[in-house]
Amino acid sequence: MSRVEQFGSRWGLVLATLGMAVGTGNIWRFPRIAASNGGGSFLVAWVVFLLLWSIPLIIAEFAFGKRARKGTIGAFVEIGGPKTAWMGAWVAVCATAIMIYYAVVSGWCLRFLAASLTGDLTSSAGASEALWTTFNSSWAAVLTQGLALAAALAVVWFGVRGIERVATILIPTLFVLVVILAIRAVTLPGAERGLAFLFTPDWSALAKPDIWLQALTQNAWDTGAGWGLILTYAVYMRAREDVALNGFLIGFGNNSVSLLAGIMVLCTVFAINPGAQAEIVGAGNEGLTFIWIPQLFAQMPGGAVFMVLFFLALSFAALTSLISMFELATRVLIDAGLSRRVALFGLGAVAFVLGLPSALYIEVFQNQDWVWGVGLMLSGLFIAIAAIRFGVDRLRTEVVNGDGADLRIGRWWTIAIIALIPIQAIALIVWWLVVAYQSNPEGWLDPFSPFNVGSVLFQWAIVLVVLLLANRWLVRRLSGPPSDTSPPKGGEVIP
């Protein structure tokens, strides 16, 4: 008999899913992108796409997992039919490829948390830049990558109850930390300039497609919608669990944290160093977080304490997202017949080895972030296609509005999945590839360039060809009743 674990309560599911959604992208990408894309007008577009992209896909993922009770590949076979197994495998490969380099990012966060605790970041004016320069692309980054992977493995080892327990502690703490940091930032003298920068609209910007596509991209990347991660957690939903209300809660909760992070970062920048705002906002995710933020906190009264809180929040955000990616890949391997123990050790070893190039060479990291970040748009498209093959209205009435529903949704969701998600996904893929072409028109097809079209197409083509050829094998291997999901020892299971 198969034994399927379950979340102990709705709040366990909600907190674990919020932990998945709230990641470094909320803290280090959202403030930069909002500030450099028209401020208030960008935020309007960002809220629109929360409703047009993120929430419909989050609801779809919950519905897939609840209905199929299998990881991404098994769920696609169940929902979209055997011919879509390769699409589910694409979703799994994409999220796993991100997990491999995201362990490196999580390791960076842990290293800077340690440095903020020991005072290494405030020892001199250029301490943070010196640490970042010597640390990234070094064997020390490999060590922290290994630590991050070990931490995620230790949590996923205990199954969904381990994930639930960790999320129950880390996510409320993360919310409190971000609120404390935002309150501190808005009470700094001059902070109103940061608020003005974030919220002043540039209405003419709304006429440019770039703003809308950036807002859509931000929603696609930082809510976790379309990644397959929510689908994976939904496998462990209770039988009479709501779908739609939880979907809205996750989407709005995630974007609430993004707004807090935007206020925190921009108010701090404008209060402490308003003259360098353009340079800071343009410094990229890593430059903003690991070089500029420590320098700004160092100049703030009580900054050493707030710097620890900042890197603690960042580490919590990174680790809870890494855990969800680890569980996604583990779930697929369990569906294929492996025990959780074997799946975890195998996955940990493979992720560590394949992550070494990203830890040792920042260009490899940036390439992987580019290739699989755009790949997520394809994942979102595939989820919509599988739902269409199943019958979107049928999925809505039987699962989303089915047993346990607290919020019943109307035909708008059907329209969103059938029309809006595919249009948005294709628009995003085409736009990002055009941007890459324009940035390197001569070598745009070079498969070994870190940031170009050729690099994306080359890596996607290899994965897609392999998955298409393996489709039948995937169906054979991953069809059948849900496998035993129980943790190696301990953990409550529902027979």
Binding site: G40, L43, V44, V47, A196, F199, T200, S256, D406
Partner: protein, 37 residues
């Protein structure tokens, strides 16, 4: 800050944080209702 920026700030914060608060409250009430059932 200009009046326009203040209005946008209020609208965005109300939409996002208010939306989160609204759905959280509904979820809490639903859970309480289910427990009583």
């Amino acid at each position: 800050m200009t009046t326009e920026a203040i209005v946008i700030m209020i609208v965005i914060l109300t939409a996002v944080w208010g939306g989160f608060g609204f759905f959280l409250t509904r979820a809490i009430l639903s859970e309480r209702g289910k427990r009583h059932d």
